[in-house]
Symmetry: C2
Subunit: 200 residues, 2 copies
Amino acid sequence: MIRIVIAEDQGMLRGALGSLLDFEDDLEVIAQAKNGEEAIRFIQTLKPDICLMDIEMPLMSGLEVAEELKKQGVNCKIIILTTFARPGYFERAVKADVHGYMLKDGSSDELAESIRSVMKGKREFAPELIFGSMKDENPLTKRECDVLRMVADGKTAKEISAILFLSAGTVRNYMSEIISKLQVKNRIEAISIAEEKGWI
Amino acid sequence: MIRIVIAEDQGMLRGALGSLLDFEDDLEVIAQAKNGEEAIRFIQTLKPDICLMDIEMPLMSGLEVAEELKKQGVNCKIIILTTFARPGYFERAVKADVHGYMLKDGSSDELAESIRSVMKGKREFAPELIFGSMKDENPLTKRECDVLRMVADGKTAKEISAILFLSAGTVRNYMSEIISKLQVKNRIEAISIAEEKGWI
DNA sequence: TAAAAAAAATGACAAATGTCATCCGAAATA
DNA sequence: TATTTCGGATGACATTTGTCATTTTTTTTA
């Protein structure tokens, strides 16, 4: 019996998947977490074989959970199940040694098959992740990402310079460099692209 | 037998809900649409009793579909099923005479009960929609929304002035008014709040 | 290990945004 | 119907953002 924890903040999908996967003879959903912290707690205490992990969840993202569990050497195979085919998310997931990265546009039957596959030692990555724009490398440095994230939060260059102990000119220069690297014409487009790619 | 069309771009939820609702003795899922245009087409040809309608879908949003079907006098009860408790979405849905507005954090059992309720002539609105910030009235005029939407798309004041046949000063003044009404300190926060509220 | 490249950092200047005072026409109110 | 208020619109001025040239430090490469 493959023991599964589901980590998904959206109750309807969580419940529906829980029911459908439980119908399978060889699968057992032993817990359902609605945020990242519950996910960590259930995985630590119940020690499931598999965790189906959403990414964008309250309290702690699925990627943060995966990174934390890898750091703790927890022996649970994580399959990311997300809406977003974002290179930044994918790269981070791969670095966290997840066993799968599935998109939510497949069926629950396909998901069940992927779970069985992963239990047999395979890695299940949705085919469309391997090609095209999913391989986009993040062109921004860590500092640039830090700055863009704060701009995306609505902070002014003045505020950001105070937080990072930089001059306002430096912060403006970072923004200018970001705009140039992403080949956009202003900060709003820069934020949009970086979020779509999962780089911030 | 209550005949249901499901309109949901996310395949896994669409399939899972389709299966679970079909298990109910008195419910029959007769079609599943993955975008707004399919939804319109299926509703027009199959004439279901109920349509479960997501909002954010490709080609045509669920709200646009509902508005179009109201305009055509189509006799199908629409139940909005969305992730977002946004006053702008809610107001628009109510104006389109939908029969329900449910959030995706409930269970499929609760959803089935709501469908039965709606068939008996009731309106099903998630309780949390009636209170608090869901009643926030959009403080922006139509013109201000037009301008903010284009700013959110990354357009400059210069571009917007060309598109709307206004002077750049006028566009800047609209932005300034928007920033003041929403009580934020810049356009990025203005975009954020307006999107969260479903006003743009 | 040394040289080259990249990242981090800065401030002057140009360009864009945001504020403010103002005017006109439409809509709302008395 | 007249008056008041609001929305739409404009441009001058103040403030902020974005560009550019530059320097220093760190990282990468030969």
